[in-house]
């Protein structure tokens, strides 16, 4: 779709499209931001997201108030607060969304690593490199201390090969099952011998120290290796170069991007037996990957400008991270990182996605698997609590917009609220129920202090109900 065809649509459609882009390429946007972006245009917004000019969250500001999170203790969920702050405060939404994307693929967990700040260092690397060369990203990943420990490459020696990293690099991080042999796994692992982490003092008297990558030449297997039909004295970077040249890698990355940004695919282990939903789309993205020399930004540009992306509205179930971050950004963040952010950072975990602590190296199963009776309750309650708090600045902005329209009847009120928290499109039965509820106390009026107070409370209640509608769980 070109910018002309987007511009030619009526305003509502354009807002809908922009809201779709911002939900997928970011964590949603409030009405003010959507209108600003619509004025700028769709293609220009895509370019701005790909080459962001805004600021990242101010990490030092966060640590000035929460010094304990610089190298957080083991306590469950707490160390993810640092990232939650980034997610809430960044002005570069796609960059941060890509951090989440890579974290879901290169899933590394606190359950084993037990060093929150090393996981934070890993997601910081995703932020720095997440839209650049996939090849360079894999090299950085292979040298990332948290990953080295997570997949035991520190136990991968010339004298005794540990295949954990080598196997997952091929199976879960690049090509997928069925595209290599067991011999390739072994040879790949040999090439990464000697890629380890430096030894640091223990944590128990002066708190934790930072890990760093260390290449131990004396522990590296310098012998000849044969990998995917190539033979040579390969080191780790050579292996990654060969991996990137494989068509399977391009398709694997393309399918992951499609699953994350366009529509839910089955879990990765099923990919070798279940074809993609939209093979043409995968082929388009894979071609962009190869043509651009593995440049993720180039693939994303093709994706966001494609019809298959723009038409895929409300076809994905929001991940818990999207629910939590999207809601917090919508209702308006506290200026300061206040006490209690540790608890906030655990909310996605209660919904089934404990950030920085995926259930395994395979990451989370997405799509409908996010939803069960427990997680659904948590999702609804969290969003309802936030949207129902009319003191929050983002909710206040919604109320101000409603006020500006004067007295509102039930249908207008429901329509406006659905627009302002989304837009969210509901089925007619749901819409009918919402209108019925809104009609209970007559027209919404703002002419006296008393009516404003009552109307504010009613808007809060209605927003809570909207948080509970099925369509709100989709993005």
């Amino acid at each position: 779709m070109t910018s002309n065809s987007v511009a030619s649509k009526d305003k509502t459609t354009t807002i809908d499209l922009m809201a779709h882009l911002m939900r997928r390429a970011g964590f949603g946007a409030d009405r003010d931001e959507l209108e600003r972006r619509v004025a700028k245009g769709y293609e220009a917004t895509v370019e701005e997201l790909l080459n962001p000019q805004g600021n990242r969250a101010d990490r030092e500001h966060f640590l000035r108030y929460h010094p304990g999170f610089r190298r957080a203790v083991t306590s469950p969920g707490m160390g993810a607060s640092v990232w939650l702050y980034d997610l809430m405060h960044t002005e570069r939404p796609l960059e941060e969304k890509m951090v989440l994307f890579w974290h879901q693929i290169f899933a590394t967990g606190q359950s084993k690593v037990d060093h929150w700040h090393e996981l934070i260092a890993q997601v910081d690397m995703f932020r720095d490199k997440g839209m650049d060369s996939y090849r360079d990203m894999l090299v950085s990943l292979a040298q990332n201390p948290a990953m080295i420990y997570w997949l035991d490459n520190c136990d991968n020696h010339e004298s005794g090969v540990n295949e954990n990293w080598g196997r997952e690099l091929l199976e879960l991080f690049s090509m997928g099952v069925g595209n290599y042999t067991e011999d390739d796994v072994f040879e790949c692992s040999r090439a990464f011998t000697g890629w380890t982490i430096s030894t640091v003092p223990p944590r128990n008297y002066y708190s934790r120290f930072d890990w760093s990558f260390e290449y131990q030449e004396e522990d590296h297997d310098n012998g000849e290796k044969t990998f995917l039909g190539n033979t040579g004295n390969f080191n780790g970077e050579d292996i990654i170069n060969i991996i990137c040249q494989q068509p399977a890698t391009a398709e694997f990355v393309a399918r992951h991007l499609y699953n994350f940004f366009v529509a839910d695919e089955p879990p990765v282990p099923a990919w070798s037996v279940t074809p993609p939903k939209d093979p043409k789309a995968i082929a388009t993205l894979a071609k962009a990957f190869t043509d651009s020399n593995y440049d993720i930004r180039s693939v994303l540009r093709v994706l966001f400008l494609s019809d298959f992306f723009q038409n895929a509205r409300f076809t994905k179930i929001k991940s818990p991270a999207e629910v939590v971050v999207g809601t917090l950004r919508l209702v308006g963040q506290d200026i300061l990182p206040g006490p209690g952010i540790g608890d906030l950072s655990k909310q996605a975990g209660y919904m089934g996605q404990e950030l920085l602590n995926p259930p395994s190296v395979e990451g989370w199963h997405t799509g409908v698997e996010w939803i069960n009776s427990g997680s659904l309750m948590k999702r609804i309650n969290f969003v309802a609590d936030m949207l129902g708090d009319t003191s929050r600045p983002g909710v206040q902005r919604i109320i101000d917009r409603l006020k500006a329209q004067g007295n509102l009847g039930a249908e207008e009120l429901v329509d406006n609220c659905l627009e302002l928290v989304g837009p969210v499109k509901t089925g007619s039965a749901t819409l009918h129920q919402l209108v019925e509820h809104a009609a209970q106390h007559g027209e919404l009026a703002w002419d006296t202090d008393e009516s404003t107070k009552a109307s504010t409370a009613r808007v809060g209640e209605l927003l809570q109900l909207i948080a509970a509608v099925k369509e709100f769980q989709y993005c």
Partner: protein, 352 residues
């Protein structure tokens, strides 16, 4: 380099005190330190910021290790002594949520700022809670994020009112006397001031955190001088957190984001950097290591022990005029590091 000679000064590393401890002999994120006065002159009061750890409880019950530790640092390692600890996490009277600064007046009373509750709490020298005051806002006498605090020779309080970008001068009862600075980046203006110091003439020094400098004001609030500028290089500052002045007029700045202390002469000339020199484990840290044979083994494996010596995001420092020494709160390393400023030092012969 444990003895540092620069521009006629000699800074000689003394010892470190502390270890990671949520209570008792040690600290947890020490963010502020002040020396006692009178009969408590050998003691230091250390603010432990603690850390959030407990989810699913009310917001005022989430943190661990928050307290004020009264400790005698001693003159050499092994002499340190825990005297007492007081206050804890909470918003009841006598409790603290985000304790940020500490100062002691001539009567030995201990004043603690709380940058979340926007109040100042007062304790006696033994840690018994006496009173508190403070209200939230930007009006005269109100606070928004009070952090650094210092007390002048007449027992007036100077409190960095961080988010209001000013320093408020009050009586020891909290009655507003004057205001220094306002938001901006020009000389005399402030951006998120944090730690404070006073010299022997009652000039006030302000760590102008987000302007990456220290500003000096006269007792009457007149802007006098500026120290440092933003950066990571020689003499530069990255979000300085605090400042101290010794009786010679030398100015010490906690260069928080650069993990070091910057030393300037009274004329703002840069003298040297102190980056942390705790080569020997503190007495209490040794006790921790000794209980764990694997910790002993691991320390022997470490190629680069230097990481243990260095300062990590130090948030505060104070000059102990009684013993002519600088005491630095090494926030991320759960200890204080102490440097003696030697008066009489004869270097050995060059030909040694």
């Amino acid at each position: 380099m444990q003895t540092q000679i620069a521009a006629g000064r000699v800074f000689d590393f003394s010892h470190a005190v502390g270890r990671s401890a949520a209570s008792g002999t040690g600290f947890r994120h020490p963010v502020a330190v002040a020396m006692g006065t009178g009969s408590n002159a050998s003691a230091a009061y250390v603010i432990n910021r603690g850390f959030e750890m407990i989810p699913n409880v009310h917001w005022n019950r989430t943190a661990v290790g928050v307290r004020i530790t009264k400790v005698v640092p001693g003159l050499v390692s092994g002499e340190e002594e825990l005297v007492t600890e007081f206050s804890k996490y909470g918003d009841a009277p006598g409790q603290v949520i985000w304790p940020a600064g500490v100062a002691v007046d001539s009567q030995g009373l201990v004043y603690v700022t709380d940058e979340w509750l926007n109040r100042i709490s007062v304790f006696d020298g033994d840690g018994n809670y006496l009173r508190c005051w403070g209200s939230t806002g930007s009006g005269a006498g109100e606070f928004n994020g009070p952090s650094g605090i210092v007390i002048d020779s007449e027992d007036n309080l100077f409190i960095a009112d961080t988010h209001n970008h000013r320093v408020q001068k009050t009586t020891s009862e909290g009655v507003l006397l004057a205001t220094l600075g306002s938001f901006g980046s020009e000389g005399g203006l402030l951006n998120s001031p944090w730690g404070l110091a006073a010299d022997s003439d009652d000039n006030i020094y302000v760590a102008d955190h987000r302007n990456h400098r220290v500003q000096k004001f006269s007792a009457s609030g007149e802007f006098l001088a500026s120290f440092g500028s933003g950066g990571t290089g020689r003499g530069e500052l990255g979000r300085p957190s605090s400042v101290a002045v010794d009786s010679d007029g030398d100015v010490y700045v906690c260069d928080w984001a650069n993990d070091r202390v910057q030393v300037y002469g009274a004329d703002a000339r840069f003298i040297t950097s102190l980056i942390g020199d705790a080569h020997e484990l503190s007495h209490w840290a040794k006790m921790t290591v000794a209980t764990n044979p694997d910790a002993v083994k691991r320390r022997r494996e470490v190629k680069n022990p230097e990481v243990e010596w260095r300062l990590s995001m130090p948030a505060d420092l104070v000059f102990d005029n009684v013993n002519r020494r600088l005491i630095v709160a090494d926030t991320q390393r759960q200890r204080i590091q102490i440097y003696n400023k030697l008066r009489d030092y004869t270097p050995p012969s060059r030909t040694l």
